[in-house]
Chain length 320, copies 2
C-alpha cells in the first residue's frame, strides 16, 4: 500500500492505539511517540501502549502518552514491529486486530489488515514522517525530536550502510524545527555511564584474539556486570567494541545472564556471515549482526569453546 | 560574495591551484580533491598543492592531483583555510595572490582577493558543493566521496551541533551517487588501529578524576606512545575520550611530545569554557575544544599541576 493510502486510513480512524516491539529501541519508540503526537495534533484520540521493557534512554519519547485504564481502541497501529513474536505480552490481545502496520523490515510477512512496509528505509521513522506529511501534520520540535532519535539510533547516527538519502533528508527536516541534534546525539552516542565506562575497561583488558587477530572474543561475567551496576542500556553498545579493532572480522561477545546461562552477540565485517556463526549455536540474525542463547546447562567456559568453534568454522568456510 | 559569483570567477579562471591548510583534515582535503576533480571535468587545468603533513587517512583524496614540477598557476583558491598562519610552508609564496577563498570559519578576515565565507556551514564542503552545482559539474561518485568525507569528518559523522540541514542534504546527494557511506564511515569512525586500541587501554586505565568527577585527566607519556607505535591519526581522536564519561564537564588530555615538552587538549561540555582553561596555559581555542603548548621547561608533572589548576579556576568561575 502507498503512503497516501495509509494516511487516508488514519484520517478515517478514531481511538487509535500504537504498539511498540519487545526490547523497544529508539525507532519503535520514536515512531510511536511522533505518530501519537501528530495524530493528536489533527484532532484524533491516540495513545501508545505502555511497554514494560522500555529503558530510561527512550522512555521520555512516549511518557505521558499512555491510555487511561478502561479506554478501548478502535484502530490499532504497529510501528517497526516485524512479527507477532515481537509483541510485548500486554499487546498480544491485539494480535488479530492490527489495522495498520508501518514497518521497514524486509522479513515482515504483513501482520496487519493493511501493511505499509518499505524495506528500503533506513529507519521506520522515515515512513512515519512521510505518512505524517501526507496527513498535513505540522512538524513541531516535539515531533521532530521523536523522529530524529528514531532515525539516528537506527542508523548509528547516520553512520551505517542502511542510511539512505531519505534518512538524511528527514533528519534535515528535523533540524529545521530548531532541534539541537548535537545535544541529542551527545546523550545517545557519546556519554558513557560509569557502569558502561567500567565495563569497557573490563572488555578492553580481557579481550582475546584468535586466527591472526581476525576473531576477537570478549566475555562479560555476571559478577563484573553486577559489581559495576551495568544495565541493558550499558551492555547494548558493548557488543560492537571487539569488531572495531583494525583487522578483526568477527567480534564475539559472551554475556552471562542472571540465571547463569550465556548469550552470544556476534558482529562481523563484510567478509564473514554473523548469522551463520549464530545459527551454529542455535541462534540467528543478519549478515553483520547476530545473536544466540545457549541452553541453561552450558556455562561460560563451554560457551567460549562453542562460539569459537562456530566462528572458526564459518571463517574457514568463508575462505574457500 | 555569492556562490554564483564565485562560480563565475572559476568559470573565467585558467591554471587553477588549490591550497589546503596545515595539519590537513578531511574538510580541507576533501574540498580540494572535489573541487580539483570538478574543475577538470569542465575542462580546466587544476591541481592541488602537495601538503607535507597529509596523513594516511586523507591522502587518497588528493593523491594524483599534484602539479608537475615547473607548472605555474594563474589562479589560486584556498579551501577551509581561516588565516595565513595556517598556510603550509610551500604555500607561503602564494600568500599575496590568493584569488578566491572558500571557507566556513567565522574568524576568517577575508584573506583573498575575493572571499566566499559562510560561517553557517557545518563543513566547508557544503559551500564547495554549492559552487560545483553552480558550475554545472556532474556529481560523480569520485567527487561525492571527497565531499562526503569532508562533511562527515567535520561534523563527527553528522553528530555534532555544527551539523545543519544543508550538511545532511549535501550528504544525501553524495549517497545518491551510489557511494557506500557505511564503508567510508567504518574506516573513518569505527576502525581502531592496534596502536589506538592500546592507547585507549592506557587512557582508560590511567584516567584520573577530580572535583566530584567533573574533571577528568588523561596523560599520554611518550614512552607509551612510542611503545605502541601511535601516530597523529591515532592520537587525534583520543582527546575526546575523557569528556565522554557521564558527568565529566572538562576532559583534559596531556600529551608528551618527542622533545619532552607537553601539550594539552581540552574538551568540555556546555557548562565550561574550554578556551578559558587553555588561555590560562598560554593557548586558546573554541568554547568546547581548546589546546595549549607548555614551554619546553615544563615537564609532565608540572603540566598536570598547571592544567588542573587552570581547569579548577575556570570550573569555580563558571559556578559563580
Amino acid at each position: 500500500m502507498s503512503v497516501s493510502q495509509a494516511a487516508g486510513m488514519l484520517k478515517q480512524a478514531e481511538d487509535i492505539l500504537i504498539l511498540t516491539h519487545r526490547r523497544p529501541d529508539g525507532d519503535t519508540t520514536g515512531c510511536a511517540g511522533a505518530l501519537c503526537r501528530g495524530l493528536r495534533q489533527i484532532g484524533k484520540t491516540a495513545y501508545v501502549l505502555p511497554n514494560s521493557e522500555i529503558t530510561r534512554r527512550y522512555a521520555p519519547l512516549i511518557d505521558g502518552l499512555y491510555p487511561p485504564e478502561s479506554w478501548q481502541p478502535r484502530f490499532v497501529v504497529t510501528t517497526d514491529i516485524a512479527d507477532f513474536n515481537l509483541f510485548p505480552d500486554n499487546a498480544l490481545m491485539y494480535q488479530d486486530r492490527v489495522d495498520l502496520v508501518i514497518d521497514h523490515h524486509r522479513s515482515n510477512p504483513g501482520i496487519g489488515r493493511m501493511n505499509l512496509i518499505r524495506p528500503e528505509a533506513g529507519a521506520c521513522a522515515e515512513i512515519v514522517y512521510d505518512v505524517m506529511m501526507a496527513l498535513g501534520i505540522t512538524f513541531t520540535e516535539g515531533i521532530a525530536r521523536c523522529i530524529y532519535v528514531a532515525a539516528s539510533t537506527d542508523t548509528g547516527c547516520f553512520k551505517y550502510s542502511n542510511t539512505v538519502p531519505h534518512t538524511l533528508r528527514v533528519a534535515a527536516a528535523c533540524l529545521e524545527t530548531g532541534l539541537d541534534g548535537g545535544e541529542i546525539n551527545r546523550e545517545l552516542f557519546e556519554v558513557k555511564s560509569w557502569p558502561r565506562f567500567q565495563m569497557e575497561r573490563i572488555i578492553f583488558d580481557t579481550m582475546r584474539f584468535f586466527h591472526d587477530k581476525k576473531i576477537a572474543l570478549a566475555t562479560l561475567y555476571r559478577k563484573d556486570i553486577n559489581r559495576v551496576g551495568a544495565d541493558m542500556d550499558d551492555l547494548d553498545a558493548i557488543a560492537a567494541l571487539p569488531r572495531q579493532i583494525d583487522g578483526v572480522q568477527a567480534g564475539l561477545t559472551l554475556t552471562e545472564n542472571e540465571d547463569g546461562s550465556v548469550k552470544a552477540s556476534v558482529r562481523t565485517t563484510k567478509e564473514i556471515d554473523a548469522s551463520a556463526i549464530c545459527r551454529k549455536c542455535g541462534g540467528g540474525g543478519h549478515l553483520r549482526a547476530g545473536g544466540a542463547s545457549f541452553p541453561p546447562d552450558v556455562d561460560m567456559p563451554q560457551a567460549i569453546q562453542l562460539i569459537l568453534q562456530a566462528a572458526e568454522e564459518v571463517y574457514q568456510e568463508s575462505r574457500i
